[in-house]
């Protein structure tokens, strides 16, 4: 019988801990996609995914937060039922919500850079409210811009028409999620460090 010998190159603790958090938050992102809340302003129900995007940026920072969202997209493309309404597959990355999906990693990196900067993590509870509000607003604008522009290009309709389908009906719900993210940070229960 043929045997093979090689030494084991262990992954360091400084990588394992944030990696595990990134993977679990990618799963949380997927789990919230399954919690559909009927929404009177749109035929599509809303989920809490945007809230998780905010929380990933706030608590994992730009690097591991961005990785967590890349992981979410990769797992969904590989067949995990974690895209909106429990769907999966590479096709979803190019479907009607593709613009939103591709913007998630960028939005998380944006929030992470605003709140944590480029050097390590800090407790978002210690960051001033205006900084957090600006970070979340910029992330939301980025996601809406990407989602609307992609849908307009994909279907071949005007930006205003696309905004009526993909953005405007969801603004009230997403402002509420932004307020919820701020309330979670202010509660100060979770320490990301």
């Amino acid at each position: 019988m043929e045997t093979e010998g090689q030494s084991v190159d262990l992954v360091g603790a400084s990588v394992v801990r944030p990696f595990a958090r990134a993977a679990i938050l990618a799963a949380l992102m997927g789990a919230t996609a399954l919690v559909a809340i009927p929404y009177p302003l749109s035929p599509a129900p809303v989920t809490l995914q945007i809230l998780v995007v905010f929380l990933v940026g706030l608590y994992l920072g730009p690097y591991w937060g961005g990785f967590s969202m890349v992981l979410y997209l990769t797992a969904g493309a590989a067949g995990a039922p974690i895209f909106s309404h429990g769907n999966a597959g590479v096709g979803y990355l190019f479907a009607e919500t593709g613009g939103f999906l591709w913007s998630f990693p960028l939005a998380v990196v944006l929030v992470g850079l605003f709140v944590h900067g480029t050097h390590g993590l800090r407790d978002p509870g210690e960051v001033s409210l205006p900084v957090i509000a600006v970070a979340l607003t910029c992330a939301m604008v980025l996601m809406y811009a990407a989602g609307t522009a992609y849908y307009a290009w994909l279907i071949g309709i005007g930006l205003v028409e696309a905004a009526f389908v993909m953005a405007i009906p969801f603004v009230p719900a997403d402002l509420l999620k932004m307020a919820a993210a701020v309330a979670i940070v202010r509660a100060g229960v979770i320490d990301p460090t």
Binding site: V8, A20, G30, T32, P43, L71, I157, I184, I190
Partner: protein, 234 residues
């Protein structure tokens, strides 16, 4: 919901890397062409893919009902005008073709999902994405699959506990905040236990991967993927 189902179809026998390459090729060319003749060709190709993976079309279309509704709204809005004649059906034709190609892309990806187990996707990612990034990405994907039911159960428990305490009568902001806070706290607790378990089990950069090999069946699929990517540029 479209999920992996064990079977012995042609698609189940293919290497996941060639199936992934085909999907990207199909998506690129579908996004590049919306002429009726191109859509006919893409529809025929989609039919072959669905048959080769034995995808139940009715069930899959039902699973995609919400994207289909959102895809249909675009052409309907394009047909509306702010004045007489109020509805202009001709304006909806091109958006309708554009929406239809997205449905084809979704159906092709459903064939991949039905015919590819998680561990094959994981191995394909790790063998395709080089270095340590590929290792973390592949392991992360496996962990997302593993923990999705657990985290989903956590969220369900939180919502049921809230409902039992009349939490569902509170404001939407309060409910979203509670679900977010408790969901994140539990996720972090699980992540920290997972990180300890990974270290205890010698989580390494050089694991033993499952066997994955191209066969003769993969050659035409890979060739078709290359042709599809090239046709996107034509």
């Amino acid at each position: 919901m479209v999920v992996y189902e064990p079977d012995e179809t042609l698609a189940h026998c293919l290497d996941p890397r060639s199936k992934l390459a085909f999907q990207f090729g199909f998506a690129f060319t579908a996004l590049a062409h919306t002429t009726p003749s191109a859509l006919v060709a893409l529809t025929a190709l989609t039919a072959v893919v669905l048959v080769s993976a034995r995808v139940a079309l009715g069930r899959t279309l039902y699973a995609y009902r919400i994207p289909i509704v959102v895809l249909a709204v675009g052409p309907l809005l394009a047909a509306l005008t702010l004045g007489a004649p109020w509805v202009e059906p001709a304006a909806a034709v091109d958006p309708a073709f554009a929406s239809y190609r997205v449905l084809l892309i979704l159906l092709v990806s459903a064939a991949y999902v039905r015919s590819t187990p998680v561990r094959d996707s994981r191995a394909a990612i790790q063998r395709t994405v080089p270095g340590r990034a590929g290792r973390l990405l592949a392991t992360g994907v496996a962990l997302v699959f593993r923990f999705l039911p657990v985290i989903t159960a956590d969220l369900r428990t939180i919502r049921e506990a809230m409902a039992a305490r009349l939490g569902d009568e509170r404001s939407a902001l309060e409910r979203a905040g509670t679900i977010g806070l408790l969901g994140l706290s539990r996720a972090f607790e699980r992540a920290d236990r997972l990180s300890l378990a990974l270290q205890a089990r010698c989580f390494s950069w050089n694991p033993t991967l499952p066997h994955l090999a191209f066969t003769r069946l993969d050659a035409p699929v890979l060739a078709l993927a290359v042709v599809l990517v090239a046709s996107a540029a034509v």
